[in-house]
Every structure is written in structure tokens, then in C-alpha cells.
Symmetry: C2
Subunit: 127 residues, 2 copies
């Protein structure tokens, strides 16, 4: 499905910049009414302005030398889609950070925009 590939491509492009300390592509991709969760937050962030402030504090501070998208999957209707994947990133130490990620996109006049982001830590189970 065309939109699935486009959505994964948008996410990969934004992530490539994120892993070089640059949050701007994620900010461009996010809708005015975006909501956001990550493990450092006590509660949900609401809206693009709050996300811009938050990402602004992370600008130039987050780097990953290497990262891996694991099993990205899109479930879509005509105008909304949910992208889920596991994500491993390496930045300066041998151990990977292991994440769960859910991104919800909505299609509007400006194309697909993120309306919900949820990052969390995956469990690291013993082999």
C-alpha cells in the first residue's frame, strides 16, 4: 500500500535527523494538535507548542551512532494510520537502548502529519 511506505519513509527521515541531535523534522511532521508521551514525562504533552518547547531542550543533545527499526507496521484507513515498531539505538556504549514506539498519523491538506507519539522502554528479557 502506497501510504504505508510513505509513512515509514517519513518516520525514517525524521529519525535520521533526530539521531543527529536535530528535532526539526519531527516538529515539521507533527500536527498542531499532536499529543506526546515518553518515559521522562509525568503526563502527556498536549499540542505543537508544548512539543516545540520540549524538543527545543533536547536539541543538540541526543545522538545515536547506529539504530535499527524492528518490524515497522502500518495499519491505515483512508485518512488515519498507526505506525508501530520496536527501535534499538546505540550511542556511545555497547548496550542498546530498546524502545517501543507508536505513531499515529492523520492525512490532511498538507499530507500525513503525526497526531500522537508514544515512546516507552521495552523490557530486556534474559535469553
Amino acid at each position: 500500500m502506497h501510504d504505508e511506505h510513505e509513512i515509514i519513509k517519513l518516520e525514517r527521515e525524521a529519525m535520521a535527523r533526530w539521531c543527529k541531535g536535530d528535532p526539526d523534522r519531527f516538529l515539521e511532521l507533527s500536527a498542531p494538535d499532536v499529543v506526546y508521551f515518553d518515559p521522562t514525562l509525568e503526563k502527556r504533552l498536549d499540542g505543537h507548542s508544548a512539543l516545540t518547547t520540549y524538543y527545543g531542550r533536547l536539541r543538540g543533545k541526543i545522538f545515536a551512532d547506529r539504530y535499527e527499526f524492528i518490524a515497522p507496521q502500518v495499519t491505515a484507513t483512508d485518512d488515519m494510520a498507526v505506525l508501530t515498531y520496536n527501535f534499538h539505538s546505540w550511542g556511545g556504549s555497547e548496550d542498546a537502548l530498546r524502545w517501543h514506539c507508536t505513531e499515529v498519523f492523520r492525512k490532511g491538506p498538507g499530507g500525513w502529519k503525526i497526531i500522537s507519539t508514544h515512546w516507552s522502554f521495552a523490557a530486556k528479557l534474559e535469553a
Copy 2:
């Protein structure tokens, strides 16, 4: 918006049963192609069958005497919707478990069904 209220109502009904050790309402609400993340998992669970097996192991083991939905919010198109909220639950100790939750619903012939669930722990910041 009518659907927003319906979606929050569906979630509250399923959660009331979940907090009494009964996962069946969440299973009834979940679509065949549901995907699922929580902090005890190394990677995403894919599909209703995997979720049924997983929830089956939790049946009768999870209880909350008291719980609170915080700022539930729905962003919807005609046939897809994302519900986000913070959730605090108390079960046997003074301290609450603090969660972030994202649920994505899709509307089909059988009504609204969950296609994506993401539970994670919220940070507990000092006052």
C-alpha cells in the same frame, strides 16, 4: 462529538473489568489485527490470538481497588480514533502505579475496535 464519548465509555467499561482480574472485555473490543505494547514485553505482540494468550496468563491476577483516568482525550476521523490518557491505579499499597496509555480504535461493521494498545510507565517527578 458522539464517537468520542462512546470511545471513552468503551475504554472505561473494559478497564472496570480489567481491574477486577477480567481481561475479556478488552479482548472483545480488540480487532483481529490488534498490536500491543506494555513495559513487560521485549517486543510488540501482533494479533488477537497472541493477545488472548498473553491476557489469559494475567486473568485473575490483576486487581486495582481504585483507579483514575486523567485527561482522556480523543482525536478522531470518521473511521479511526486515538484515545490517550494518563492512568493511576492503586492495588494494595499506598503508592499509585502511574501509566501513559494510547489506544487506537477503528470503526467497522461491528463498531469501534481497538487496533493498537500502548501502555508504559510514567515518570514520577519530585514535587
